[in-house]
């Protein structure tokens, strides 16, 4: 088997590689430490940077009726020792940590650590539930390719339409839907609360299905390349069972996809606020958000620290898993590169792309001809009709018009953010050692935290949301790029290329980028709808376009309360997101040409 084939007398090489890894390991450790310290310091400065008096926000969190008189604010300030400045607080808090004391909450006066650990346990359990669903959905999504590929019947490339549709489903919408249908109507599971394993089912599904589709989509796209490798052909010819071949192809591709679990699933520990709210789950996301809004520093810092540690632990675990999967091949530079075969595309996926493009175009043009801002309170929540083809929202505004007018802005900003994130991700992914630490530390941080830091520095602004999402949104691409690069660097042809004297630039251009870019791009496009939603989720901080401007993410969130009363109000924007996602994924698949890739090898 080619994956683990190692020369018998490779001991000196192993030894050298071992030393190198040790050095790299310590550098990566430094990277993690630096990233962690930087993030914690940024959080510690938040109340002082934001220009929002922490005494006022804490007073508000305690009592909504309190009059913010100077005397009251002074009392709070004195109580919390706010005049000592951020660094005294940070040092004090850090000093308490070894004793297991994470300080007391500024708002409630209660010790922070028990709160944070309880919330973490809840969120972690939920994340594990979501992980199970993710694995199941990913298996379903990639099952067909695995089945056909292992029997060498994979003659056409798949369009990944199904995965794109599922991945584009907004989690909060799925959560609302599940809570209503399975919780209230059918009564199968509790509609809210955290009382036992049965309360876990619905939220885990809401979180896991889109994540699973995302992971499955990536896996599905990488599998044909593994089946295309010579070993698979040889094994098939020798009569190895298809199960055996499938297992090894999976092992070969999983190594590249596994790092995606960190920003996609592990990040749900702190980043599932919307779903936690809908199901009333006392998780870490809500705790961190409440603390951040009240500028209650001790719990916020502790939650951040927990998330950073979680990210680093999960990152190390995933790395170990990858090593176990790829084995010595990775270490000894004996991996063949994983390049996609030039399979002809199935006609259906081309049709899908075309249909989506036409549908979106019709939607936008029809929408642009209508008034998106006209409020007509008499015509609220009207079902689709000739006058309002997609119905109206709660203020009687025409949904088609709002979708059409929002399209350009939504897609434009999301694409720009995705481009910046992808580029950052690629760059940091290439800076292996430092990048890895930073990626792990940042990937579990919720975008809201970045949003708060952004508002603190720039104030509420249109571009603030984009900046905030860029700050944390690059991690999936960095993780992916780093994993793929590691494999590519370990491939035989890189060694050949090196030995015939290829320069850095040449290697980057001809080998590294071509190996990484297509997969990263596909990932980015699969995440496009998520980006739209995350951008909109920062609206409550005053970031992004202000209402009543039409924007798809806002359309979804502002109509979410009406999901049961007027399903069309969310159906329109959700479908538009799905169309966009399918178009992006299947459209780019047809745009890329395969033959050039094979010529490289």
């Amino acid at each position: 088997m080619s994956v683990t084939s190692v020369g018998a007398d490779a001991r000196p090489a192993q030894w050298r590689a071992g030393l190198g890894r040790l050095a790299a390991g310590s550098r990566a450790g430094l990277g993690r430490l630096a990233a962690g310290v930087a993030l914690l310091t940024a959080v510690a400065l938040l109340p002082w940077l934001s220009g929002n008096d922490p005494a006022l926000t804490v007073l508000r969190a305690r009592s909504a009726d309190q009059d913010p008189t100077p005397a009251q604010l002074a009392a709070v300030r004195e109580q919390l020792g706010l005049d000592e400045g951020p660094f005294t607080h940070l040092v004090h808090w850090l000093g308490g940590l070894p004793r297991g004391d994470a300080g007391t909450s500024w708002v409630s006066g209660e010790p922070v650590l028990p709160q944070v650990t309880a919330a973490f346990a809840v969120s972690f359990t939920l994340m594990l539930g979501a992980l199970v669903v993710t694995i199941a959905v990913a298996a379903l999504v990639s099952a067909r390719t695995l089945y056909l590929g292992s029997r060498r019947r994979l003659h056409r490339r798949r369009g990944a339409t199904g995965a794109a549709v599922l991945a584009a489903l907004p989690k909060f919408l799925l959560a609302s839907l599940l809570a209503t249908v399975c919780g209230v109507w059918l009564g199968w599971f509790p509609s809210s609360g955290w009382e036992g394993p049965s309360s876990m089912v619905l939220p885990a599904l809401a979180l896991g299905v889109p994540s699973g589709a995302m992971i499955g989509g990536l896996l599905d796209q990488a599998l044909p390349a593994a089946f295309h490798e010579p070993w698979a052909r040889t094994w098939h010819a020798y009569g190895f069972t298809s199960g055996h071949i499938a297992r090894h192809a999976l092992r070969r591709t999983l190594a590249g996809v596994l790092p995606q679990l960190l920003p996609t699933v592990v990040a749900l520990v702190g980043g599932a606020v919307a779903v936690e709210k809908i199901f009333n789950i006392p998780g870490l996301g809500r705790l961190a958000l409440d603390a951040a809004i009240a500028q209650d520093l001790p719990p916020l810092q502790t939650a951040t620290l927990v998330l950073i540690l979680l990210g680093i632990t999960a990152g190390l675990l995933i790395q170990a898993l990858r090593r176990a999967l790829l084995g010595p091949a990775l270490r000894d530079g004996a991996l063949p590169a994983l390049h996609a075969p030039a399979l002809p595309r199935r006609r259906s996926s081309r049709w899908a792309a075309g249909a989506c493009a036409i549908a979106l175009l019709t939607l936008v043009i029809a929408g642009l001809l209508r008034d998106p801002l006209h409020v007509d309170t008499a015509a609220r929540l009207l079902p689709p009709s000739a006058a309002h083809p997609l119905g109206t929202d709660s203020l009687g505004r025409d949904l088609l018009a709002r979708l059409g007018h929002g399209a350009l802005r939504t897609v434009g900003v999301a694409l720009a953010v995705t481009a910046v994130c992808t580029l950052t991700g690629l760059l940091l992914g290439m800076a292996t050692q430092v990048g890895a630490g930073l990626t792990e530390a940042v990937s579990t941080l919720p975008a809201v935290l970045a949003g708060l830091l952004t508002t603190a520095v720039t104030g509420p602004s249109v571009w603030g949301a984009a900046l905030a999402v860029c700050l944390v949104g690059w991690t999936p691409y960095a993780a992916q790029a780093a994993a793929l690069l590691e494999q590519e660097r370990a491939s035989g042809h890189m060694l050949a290329s090196l030995s015939i004297g290829a320069g850095r630039g040449y290697r980057l251009r001809r080998h590294l980028l071509p190996a990484v870019l297509p997969a990263v791009l596909r990932n980015a496009l699969l995440r496009l709808p998520t980006t739209v939603l995350v951008l909109a989720s920062l609206g409550f901080l005053g970031l992004g376009e202000q209402p009543p401007t039409a924007e798809w993410g806002r359309l979804l969130s502002e109509n979410q309360p009406y999901v049961e009363l007027a399903p069309w109000a969310v159906l329109g924007p959700a479908c538009a997101l799905v169309l966009l996602s399918v178009l992006a994924v299947s459209g780019t698949a047809s745009g890329r040409s395969g033959p050039r890739r094979t010529a490289d090898r």
Binding site: R62, D67, A179, G187, I293, G542, E558
Partner: protein
Amino acid sequence: MRTNSRALFAALALTPLLAGCFVSGEGGSGADAEGGSAGRLRVALAVPPVQELSPYSNDATLLSKLSVAEGLTALDKNGAAAPALATSWKQTNPTTWTFELRKATFQDGTPVTAESVVNALDHADAAKPKPRVLSDVTLTAKVDDADTVTISTKAADPVLPLRLASPALAILSAKAYHKDGTVSPVGTGTGPFKITKLTGKTEASLDRYDGYWGGKAKAPGIDVTWIADGTARANALRSGDVDIAEWIPTAQAKLLDAKTRHEVPSVRTDSLILNTGNGMFTDPALRAAAREAVDGSALVDSVFGGYADPAQGLFGPAVRWAADKRVDVTGRAKAATPAQVRSKTKGKVLRLATITNRAELPEAATVLQQQLEKAGFTVKQDVREYTQMEADLLAGKYDALVFSRVTLLDTGDAVAYLASDYKSDGVYNIARLKDPKVDQAIKSAAEESDTTKRQQKIMAAEAQILRTDAVIPLVHEKVIQGIATNVEGVLLDPRERSLIDVDTRLK
């Protein structure tokens, strides 16, 4: 190598299952009280505890809502002071009152004495920061005899009995007050229900307190769940997980069975507040133009889904005495025509702010934007979470704000709201109103001790404030309480202070 990776896969697949059951089993430990215990009320409340149920925080209302703790007085339906722990009181001179206590015991078994009352009031007065209800008064409580307390204030305080009904001034046993300044009402109140367990910010259980002076409560206990999300609260009621769910959002109200939907006029008034201190609305003609342009009744059936009343003034139907004593507003400025508005604003943009904390407000702002634009204004919205914009609001960075405000604060006295929001030195004067006539009217109402006259003066002050067009009332909100059909005796209180008492029970 192969077995190794297989083992890893197995571990990966098994961990979630094992850990999932384990941790969630622990996480659900607060659920032990439910199920078989017949007759216990299951309640979903909206605002999770912030300070371990301290009466000096937001959590105070919980103590009165669930009849855990009581003050010396309580408010009756008309908003007048009624006996609670004090059976009667009299004013001996303008600054001194004596209160006769009833025979009662705390939930920890100790008797309610004059000494314990003085202790409780002293702690409230010394609390830092001071509870809002005491922010404009300094009171000293003294033991007269075992069941008589004398309370004196520095300046005359005609509404002292109302003040003492505030949940922040609940009388707790000496055990409740800790050395570090924290206060715990767990098992230290005097009400018919005592808190037995508080699980973080998610759940609490209460048992009936059999030694309650007013007789045994009909329900054996209460299981409280805090559900911050309105849709989730409505869902919990619809799926039968709870018997009572407070504050159902108007968007969800139609989904409830009509028999479980109970509307209560609330003391909240939503209004458009104009910044008279700086920006375009320093011009009275523009304020008048805005007032004429804005039509709050358009919001009632749309944004509020019928669960609101068109605004009559600052005080709505929940303040029962207001309608009869309302004073006509005279002397308002003449409104600028749309053409005048355009020339006066000279392309300046009206910065319209609102908060996301109440779902209806952003929708209302969008409707108002259209109405204002018709009158010639150019409007730009700024919508944020309240704490994200409070400092900017107080600093006068907006021209207008769509806001929802409780008109009877914890004193239960309307003057407190008028003074903090519209007096020149008011601490919550977002309108930045500085009008001598308004100041005079509020001051005169504050000094009046006769109830009827005080109410008349309050309404005169309301007319003075409305005259300035600094505030344009839009609607008076209604609260929708979701109550399952098998529950009876739930209190529908416009002040949102009471919900469950001795008579509330499952049928």
